[in-house]
């Protein structure tokens, strides 16, 4: 067990945007230093790959670094050293917390996760986000084969947090300091090993599909909101984006299926529709009887991804909001009426393709697809080629 510094969320007050996304605190972490810039925990390894010896001077009992306002190109070497060290411990703390939640709700640990910081870091091309990678084709291509269980890659930052007053100290937005980005990416790892939206379990281990559908992005955002304790998951680094702007991705806005956009590259925006519906259901269930909606979701995701079948057909099925909703309603019948009503407020019904949900919500179609005995829609899956982006709506 070692003492590390991290930003705390949840019940703790969110602090000023210039000083960080949460309350700076010391916490205990069951971690071991396993490299110059690497921490290892049960089922988790976090490594900064920019070549610094971050932990050379640290003892086995404590790795206490200061956030140093994110460090960054304008910071001096010592501030950058502190910021990088804090990034590793903060990432380890929050990733472990997310994995712990998953293990508790699933009653099993997820496969080991490797988090690499700065693997794509080159001069002049800072990266302010993260991505989750499996072995297989990816854009941009991965120079090294990712771990079969999955890897998270975090960028090293490319901009400062904006709050409108240039005369106050700036915080360099580095993803390792931002629990929202860490939780979102761990959320993809949880999705991969539960709902498995791309049916990767049915694919060869070294030919995994790295694309994300709306359900994947939206579920990861919802998990982020649960762990942060707020629906304004990106409020720290996107606070300059108006709350009504889709780029803010606030989950307490009533995004409905009418907002679904066909075509590629819309997984995050379309995912917000799913995420905001989950958040509405989560809040209504909590207010009604304090049952654990998140546990029901994890159970549903586990069942959703356990189906056997032909890969293309499973990918099509697992891209549909209605399919996962049906699994969610079955996971905990006691909360099904509340969940059904909440999801319907967002235009998400337990049957119909995503494009049908959109058409209905946009008023272009009032007819609901007829439901068959097994719960499938008449307009549901049909044999044939893989879905087009317009069909998948993600």
């Amino acid at each position: 067990m070692m003492r590390v510094a991290a930003y705390l969320m949840g019940d703790h007050p969110r602090t000023d945007r210039r000083t960080g996304p949460g309350l700076l605190a010391e916490v205990d972490l069951d971690a071991t230093v396993t490299g110059p810039a690497e921490l290892t925990l049960a089922g988790l390894t976090v490594r900064d790959e920019r070549g610094d010896d971050l932990f050379g001077g640290a003892g086995t009992q404590a790795c206490l670094f200061g956030p140093a306002a994110g460090g960054g190109p304008l910071a001096g070497p010592e501030a950058e050293h502190q910021a990088r060290g804090f990034g590793v411990t903060n990432t380890a703390y929050h990733a472990a917390r997310a994995l712990g939640l998953a293990a508790r709700l699933l009653d099993r640990p997820l496969p080991p996760l490797l988090i690499r910081i700065g693997p794509h870091s080159v001069f002049g091309r800072g990266w302010g986000g993260g991505h989750y990678r499996l072995p297989g084709a990816a854009s941009p291509p991965e120079p090294d084969l990712p771990e079969t269980g999955g890897e998270i890659h975090l960028g090293t930052g490319r901009r400062f947090i904006e709050d409108g007053d240039p005369r106050r100290p700036r915080y360099f937005h580095v993803p390792t300091h931002n629990p929202a980005i860490i939780y979102h990416e761990v959320g993809h790892h949880i999705c991969r090993h539960t709902a498995d939206f791309r049916a990767n379990r049915l694919r060869p281990p070294l030919d995994q599909h790295n694309g994300k559908v709306a359900l994947d992005e939206g579920t990861a955002d919802f998990i982020t909101a649960v762990l942060l304790g707020t629906p304004d998951i990106y409020g720290w680094h996107r606070g300059h984006v108006p709350p009504w702007d889709p780029r803010r991705r606030r989950l307490d806005a009533r995004w409905t299926a009418a907002w679904l956009c066909p075509g590629g590259g819309q997984a995050h925006a379309n995912g917000t529709v799913w995420a905001s519906a989950l958040w509405t259901a989560h809040e209504r269930v909590r207010q009604a009887d304090s049952a654990d909606f998140t546990r029901a979701l994890f159970t549903a995701m586990n069942r959703f991804g356990s189906h056997e079948g032909e890969v293309t057909e499973e990918q099509r099925r697992r891209s549909r909001f209605s399919q996962l909703l049906r699994e969610l309603l079955a996971a905990d019948p006691a909360i099904a009426p509340t969940v059904t009503a909440a999801m319907a407020d967002h235009g998400i019904l337990p049957y119909g393709r995503n494009c049908e949900l959109r058409a209905r919500m946009q008023g272009r179609s009032t007819a609901l697809p007829a439901q068959t005995a097994d719960g499938a829609s008449d307009a549901g899956p049909a044999p044939g080629p893989a879905p087009t982006p317009a069909e998948v709506l993600s």
């Binding site: 001096g76 870091s121 901009r159």
Partner: protein, 343 residues
Amino acid sequence: MRNLFTMKWSYVTRTVPNPGRCQLGWPSAPPRLGDLVVAQVTSVGAHEHLEDAHGRRVKLHPGDLVVGACGNRYATDFYEGYHRPGPKAHLLTAGGVIGTAVSWHTNCPVPTELEVLGPLTDDNDQPVSLDHFARPRPPSSPQSLSGSEPLAVAVVGSSMNSGKTTTAAGLISGWTRAGLVAGAAKVTGSGSGKDRWTYIDAGARYVVDFLDFGMSSTFGYPPERLLGTMAAMRDALIQDGADAIVLEIADGLLQAETRRLIGHLPTVCRGAVLAVGDALAACSGVDLLRAAGVPVLAVSGLITASPLASREAAVVTGLPVLSPSQLAGGAALDLFADRVPTT
């Protein structure tokens, strides 16, 4: 005296606060650099348009009356021109610099000809000069304002049209995208709004140029004044609230005033980005800057249109060769890093 209500006020008059209270006066003493004059278009040549104080291109016709400022011009791809008091003159820039062209590039048409009618005078019948409206020098040095070294970078070039302003715009865009407040200064050059608008379009929140410091064109002003103005521009932008500043110096490194200025760059900024058109210019330009003690941060400019030439330049200079879009995409921020960049 004639009413100037219908006159065409050129860009160099943009700092005049009350144009409506000015008039055409009687010539008394010969006008000096920076003095505003009223002239009539006698023949439309290379400049068929005048840029007005708001940046609009105004069509010129013979007989039009224009208000401009006396000045020189040093432009290897355009005119070499000087302020020579007298009734005959040329329009040296679309922005309203008035002087006499003595040589020009073979691709350049003959200049638009003017007849100088007299000085622009104020309501006390005194000649109006841009110097009257020069911005006061900021009272504090930047170190005392912020407590740290200012984030300022100069952009210099091997020649006219080597891509300096596009490079500066790339820096501005990159800083703005990174969440910094960008400021831009056109340190030297001839009165024209083109560069100012480019800076603003790239995201600069604060912009100054030599017009703000009383000069219609910097060619021919004493070097001491230009050196003081360069520092004052940087200080003014910091005082305005800029986090990161680009100082663009016109013309090529061999231009006499530019050579004087680069010797003082280490006192006003962290280093320079060199805009060039080819690898040989990059090589010699970097040598010139290093000999003057200027840290060269990167090479940019027209050369970046050619990947092959860019690689040549990177090999001979040992510096990153960055296109304006690369600067805008993140490299502009990394130029400030103290650490050795990884490539």
